[in-house]
């Protein structure tokens, strides 16, 4: 099967005055056409950076220092800025976290939607306006004629996010990146936006990369999930694999910290203790070691290898290796190290 997106061993660093921050360290993943992929992880784990780099939106001092990125047959990291601009907003679009600030306050909604259409298609102004109206109707905004003439500050947050989605879908992209699209919205609106995105996905058939830290959202809409920690994908698998058969201690921790709805006893949430690693000085071994309850000596010394459980499910954790050792030899080579 042909992958729409293929990221192979991407390394990306920010060269700050304080030193090199390794934001992405050997990140590999793929997205099939029409697939919904969830990327979860805490702040600073590299979720957004991964997807921004796919659009060539990494600003100074960030730089891709290794690996290859392919999208729809394009070799992203070999393309010039000018070539990149033809793809952006056209074949791959993005919607951002905060709809309140993501629209330019001094231009009308119509102007901002039509801008993308006029840029990437040969449509005339009148045709572009028709298309913009069509898009607004598509994302469930009533009275599109009136809305086109309104400014962002005249719309509510949910409405603005719908406008952002309309703008992103203007040229029917193959891939939509949603960077925490619901974080800044209140809960009822969140559900509406997620529903809308799924509806549009079914209608238009684009693939979606959903970046979020809301595991609830991920569970309900994603086909596959990648769990990121400290610039690495520590576990990836089908949604069911991740939720019912997690193979990394961090994933397990994340799952434990979700509030449960039908619990009889009042149960305290279990947080993951400690704080994220300092990306300026990443530890030598597994980055999660210092916060891991099952940390072993080897975890502090060496990065665990990737272990495949199935075609789609893999994780990077020494515990998996040990289980194998125990099964095969009855003793642990890893522990001896």
């Amino acid at each position: 099967m042909k992958h729409l997106v293929d990221i192979e061993h991407e390394r990306l660093s920010f060269f700050t005055p304080a030193g090199e921050v390794k934001a992405l360290d050997d990140v590999s993943f793929y997205v099939n056409e029409g697939e919904v992929i969830g990327i979860v992880g805490e702040s600073g784990s590299g979720k957004s950076v991964t997807s921004y780099s796919l659009m060539g939106l990494i600003a100074n001092p960030g730089k891709i220092i290794g690996g290859d990125l392919y999208f729809n047959g394009y070799h992203i990291n070999e393309m010039s800025e000018k070539e990149m601009r033809k793809i952006r907003g056209n074949e791959v679009s993005i919607i951002f976290q905060d709809p309140m600030t993501s629209l330019n306050p001094v231009y009308t909604i119509g102007n901002q939607i039509m801008e993308v259409i006029l840029l990437h298609t040969n449509k005339s102004k009148t045709e572009a306006r028709e298309r913009a109206k069509e898009l607004l109707t598509l994302v469930g905004i009533n009275e599109p004629d009136k809305r086109l003439k309104q400014y962002p500050h005249e719309l509510s947050g949910g409405m603005r996010q719908r406008v952002m989605i309309a703008m992103a879908l203007a040229c029917e992209p193959k891939l939509l990146i949603a960077d925490e699209p619901t974080t800044a919205l209140d809960v009822t609106i969140q559900a509406q936006i997620i529903e809308l995105m799924m509806e549009l996905k079914n209608k238009l058939g684009m693939a979606i990369i959903m970046i979020t830290h809301d595991l609830g959202v991920v569970a309900s809409i994603c086909d596959r999930i990648a769990v990121m920690y400290a610039g690495k994908i520590v576990e990836s698998g089908m949604t069911d694999d991740i939720f019912y058969n997690p193979k990394h201690e961090y994933t397990k921790g994340l799952l434990k910290s979700i509030p449960k709805m039908y619990e009889y006893d009042y149960e305290r949430l279990v947080p993951i203790e400690g704080s994220p690693v300092d990306m300026l000085n990443p530890p030598k071994g597994c980055p999660f070691a210092s916060r891991c309850d099952s940390c072993m000596k080897i975890c502090l010394r060496e990065m665990p290898p990737v272990k495949n459980f199935s075609d789609t499910h893999y994780s990077q954790c020494w515990l998996n290796e040990i289980e194998d050792d125990i099964k095969s030899e009855g003793g642990s080579e890893c522990l001896k190290k």
Partner: protein
């Protein structure tokens, strides 16, 4: 909008009334008088002059008389410049200052806005540092120093430009440069900081994600948002620059209104002081209304009520 403008103009008239009343009584408090310095005039002649200009009457009567005449458009005759009335002085000298000032405002915008934007886009690089140094100098160095340096280099050493008067286009170059220095530096600095602010906004990322070219991003999406603080500054800048600068006009011997301001105060030429003060106050008020209107054109979030 129209209602707002009318309201502002009514307030403006009230402001002018207060400003002129304060000026009237304050200038009378200054020791001496228009004729005190002229030792050649005898006591009797001085008395006769005071009677002629109505300065012998009680101050409240003078005040009422002045406003009665002013309301009829008569701002009196100059006490020191024989045979010229105030309206005549202003209408003959303002155009001179306004021409020099107008050119310098346009120049400072044309140079300051791009300079500030370029600095912001090259933040932290050498170009940015150079522009910051220029902007700091422009704000810190007083205009008489700049005038003198310009005059010494361009006028005296290189003999490229005439050093006094305003008789040919060449004559404008040095006064315009001298007048533009401060506002250019100020605009560049302001533009740099507001541009930096705008460049970090989320909607700039959206614009980039749309695949727009850097030029469209900069000129369409960034500039219009970043220009607001400059527009604010334009109100007072335009008013003060159009009426001219005392220092620049004195140094380059330009017969403008700026010199008139200061010399009228030194000479205690009461009617000219009043006339120029009311003129400047009106100009500032009109400019501020224009700035407010410009705001609503640039930023739709601002509504005038």
């Amino acid at each position: 909008m129209l209602k707002y403008i009318i309201k502002r103009l009514i307030f403006g008239i009230a402001t002018i009334f207060v400003v002129s009343t304060l000026t009237f009584f304050l200038m009378q408090q200054v020791p001496g008088g228009p004729f005190a310095a002229d030792k050649s005039i005898s006591k009797a002649a001085q008395k006769a002059l005071e009677v002629k200009y109505g300065l012998d009457k009680p101050i409240t009567v003078q005040y009422l008389n002045y406003f009665k005449n002013a309301l009829h458009g008569d701002f009196g005759i100059s006490i020191k410049q024989r045979g010229r009335d105030v309206a005549q002085i202003i209408s003959s000298k303002f155009p001179v200052s306004a021409r020099v000032g107008g050119i310098s405002i346009i120049l400072s915008l044309l140079v300051g806005v791009p300079l500030g934007s370029v600095a912001a886009l090259n933040r932290g690089k050498i170009l940015d540092r150079l522009i910051i140094v220029f902007a700091t100098l422009g704000i810190a160095v007083p205009s008489f120093v700049i005038c003198t340096i310009l005059m010494y280099i361009l006028g005296v050493k290189l003999e490229l430009l005439p050093t006094y008067g305003l008789t040919s286009p060449l004559h404008y170059i040095m006064p315009v440069l001298a007048l533009s220095f401060y506002p250019t530096a100020y605009i560049a600095r302001q533009m740099r900081s507001s541009m930096l602010d705008v460049l970090g906004q989320d909607y700039m990322r959206t614009a980039r994600a749309k695949g727009l070219s850097e030029n469209v991003i900069l000129f369409k999406h960034a500039l219009r948002n970043a220009i607001l603080p400059i527009v604010t500054y334009m109100g007072p800048l335009v008013a003060y620059t159009l009426v001219g600068s005392f220092v620049v006009e004195k140094i380059f011997t330009i017969p403008g209104l700026g010199g008139e301001f200061v010399s009228s105060v030194i000479n205690q030429d009461y009617t000219v002081i009043m006339g120029t003060t009311i003129f400047l106050a009106s100009l500032i008020i009109v400019m501020n209304v224009l700035v407010d209107i410009a705001y609503t054109v640039i930023d739709p979030r601002i509504k005038l009520k």
